[in-house]
């Protein structure tokens, strides 16, 4: 008790360290740890390998795109568990409209060789639709976001399997495959990040999103149509999951119903590691991008150190829990003061 009273200003100073900066420090710290371990165990540098870093970022781009939508949902105080399944569903459906002409075993043999805009539009619409359903369920019926999106998670996965009775969909047109080519997924990820960074920071959409998460009753009394806004936020999360599905399919040049498994949890983890509060009202796209990179760096680092894949999962699980525990303590410290 005495500490608290003697140095309240000091405590304040510590917390005033910008969260952007502290999360960057974590990223750098993780990188340096692997660098040191790399020299010790592998006799080579971890970071001085552009190829490895490119692959790492490529691998997390899809999760990153999802995480940007999920971050917005979490800022409103909600959660979205459906994104991984929506990835699979959109990948399947989009790919079925993107098959190269002349491919006999195409899903729609008469609809092959279509311009890339069609599968793109179809995929985005699928994602958007799933998101709108989530949003309407949550806003209109008042059921918890956890339940609504859990339902969508199971349903969308089912749709993905039912669509071709479990068969993979392959042989995309060259145009469609380009979406996943080279570093394009990374640019899509970063482009989306910039757009929503701006949206959250400078638009009324963003202001309302934070307000609803911080205090939904106060938001309503302040004249915000909370229900309509929630539908928008979940719709955007669905749209981005759809985009992620398209990128996944294009990159793999095939679509399977099992794609995107557990991506929703990686996305939530990236957001939470990046400082988004599960209590709502707080979180930044920048943090989520860094959180995504931290996740990628860990996976890449473990592979580099030839750590068994099973250990990787164990450690990943612990990191996610640790990030949430840290968030809980932050909340407690704050409420104690208030």
């Amino acid at each position: 008790m005495e500490d608290v009273q003697i140095e309240p200003t000091a405590r304040k100073e510590i917390r005033r360290l910008p969260s952007d900066l502290s999360i960057l420090m974590v990223l750098i710290g993780v990188a340096l740890v692997f660098e040191v371990l790399g020299w010790i165990f592998q006799g080579q540098s971890f970071l001085m390998n552009p190829q490895r870093l490119t692959i790492m970022i490529l691998q997390v781009s899809v999760v990153g795109i999802i995480a940007i939508g999920v971050t917005q949902v979490i800022i409103t105080g909600g959660i979205d568990l459906s994104s991984g399944s929506v990835v699979a569903m959109t990948a399947m459906v989009a790919m079925s409209f993107a098959q190269a002409s002349g491919y006999e075993r195409a899903v729609y043999p008469s609809l092959t060789g279509l311009p890339v805009i069609i599968p793109l539009a179809v995929g985005l619409c699928m994602g958007l639709f799933a998101g709108i359903v989530n949003g309407l369920l949550i806003a209109r019926t008042g059921i918890p976001p956890f339940i609504a999106t859990l339902g969508m998670m199971v349903t969308a996965r089912g749709v993905a399997k039912w669509y071709t009775k479990g068969q993979p969909v392959s042989f995309p047109t060259e145009g469609f495959a380009t979406i996943g080519n080279g570093a394009l997924p990374v640019f899509i990820f970063l482009g989306v990040a910039v757009i929503f960074h701006i949206a959250l920071k400078y638009t009324r959409y963003g202001k309302f999103t934070y307000a609803i998460g911080a205090n939904p009753q106060a938001a309503r009394v302040s004249g915000i149509n909370v229900q309509r806004h929630l539908v928008k936020v979940y719709a955007i999360a669905g749209l981005l999951a759809g985009l992620a599905g398209i990128v996944t399919a294009a990159r793999a040049e095939t679509a399977q119903a099992g794609m995107g498994m557990m991506y929703e949890l990686d996305a939530i983890a990236a957001a939470v590691i990046g400082g988004t509060s599960l209590a709502g009202g707080r979180g930044k796209i920048f943090g989520t991008v860094v959180g995504t990179l931290i996740l990628g760096l860990m996976m890449s680092g473990f592979t580099f150190l030839r750590v068994d894949a099973y250990y990787q999962e164990i450690v990943k699980g612990m990191i996610i829990v640790a990030a949430v525990v840290a968030d809980v303590y932050r909340q407690k410290a704050r409420s104690k003061k208030a």
Partner: protein, 511 residues
Amino acid sequence: MISEHTKEAIERVKSQVGDRLLEIDGIRKEFPGVVALDDVRFSLRKGTVHALMGENGAGKSTLMKIIAGIYSPDRGTIRLRGEEVTLHGPLDALERGIAMIHQELALMPFMTVAENIWIRREPLNRFGLVDHLQMARQTQELFDRLNIRIDPLSEVRFLTVAQRQMVEIAKAVSYESDVLIMDEPTSALTETEVDHLFRIIRDLKARGIGIVYITHKMNELFEIADEFSVFRDGHYVGTHASEDVNRDDIIRMMVGREITEMFPKEEAQITDIVMGVDHLTLDGVFHDISFDLRKGEILGLAGLVGSGRSNVAEALFGVTPATSGKIRIDGEEVIIGSPADAMKHGMAFLTEDRKETGCFLPLSILENMQIAMLQDNNVRIGFVDQGTVSRLCDEMREALRVKTPNMEERIENLSGGNQQKVLIARWLLTKPRILILDEPTRGIDVGAKAEIHRLISRLAAQGVAVIMISSELPEILGMSDRILVMHEGHMTGIIDRQEADQVKIMELAAR
């Protein structure tokens, strides 16, 4: 009759000899920014009902929570059956024989009556499992003793409020409690239920149990209480036997303070009717509220907590729209189905509870202040015109003298008074014509209070129509041009400034 009287007389003599169950002395309790109780004393005799009286905010609830072990006092002594004690939480109090019947009843709806009563103390069979048969039997015995007719095996959610209260009382008795605290136990009961409750209370008295009884209702005081203590602004005013006084004496004791704070009421031109309200009703909450509100006028809304004041304000602003009745703005009937609708008609609403419905605690002062003004004139294709908005917010911050190093500070780091100013600023930035203020100065220090009073006065002088709800009579009297008084969901009168005084308002509010 005569023997009854003699018995009572003997009781009284006995109690004067001793028999003090609970004695409290020199209690002080502070909350951040407010002294809730100062040098308060209280004593409860065996087999009596002792009522606590006072206006809202007089400190009754705080005292009650100290007795129940929920708050620990900063200073002062508590003696239980002659022995000085320190209560470590409500469970400790319960085990020492002090039980509280909660105003918001604290039973578990999906468990049976018996399970609720014996929770933590369930009788076990020889396998160490709960013996439900035995538990039901115990409950039935308890109910028989208290003349309560409720099935021990029915789930609590199927019981009426009155029945739940009986269950709580039985639970308290099952702990062998001899100090019972009842916080406005009749507030949700019908007349016959009240009669039943009073029979049980008399029965408990006969067993020697002492009851601390909080009420706003005068007639109950005379019917059930043996003595009463009055509190005012956290101070002890006095204790009397209820047969020695009449209504007027009590009202005088409750409101008897001088109006010490100055209310800087400016002369305002009261002109056209801005808002008319006809027979506004929210089923089961308030009924048939009608009034006119004019430009430049401050209409005070008085009444006890639970009288429906805040519900009327919420209905006017569309938070919980009324079920029937009309609202006219500038003579035209309007439908207000949501706060957004209300804002379109130039209304603004400062809610009663800063934390629950006002502040966005994790957000900055700027974000908190600008949220209501992000309407079409300050937003271009979705993008907030932050330059203009920030400038307007900054001007407002200066005008209201919000004490903060900068606008990026989180609002949760501000004092209550400064938070309140930020919320007022939020609404003033929407340039309202009708301003509804619910407890605008609750829980803030005297300095900020005076500033807010001045501000309200100035706004009225500029032609804003103000509806102000307050539990503080001096504030209502000092600020209002007219005062609408409510009692249990009904309008009991509108008094003009010149004719209004504390006694008149209390009479209408506390019938």
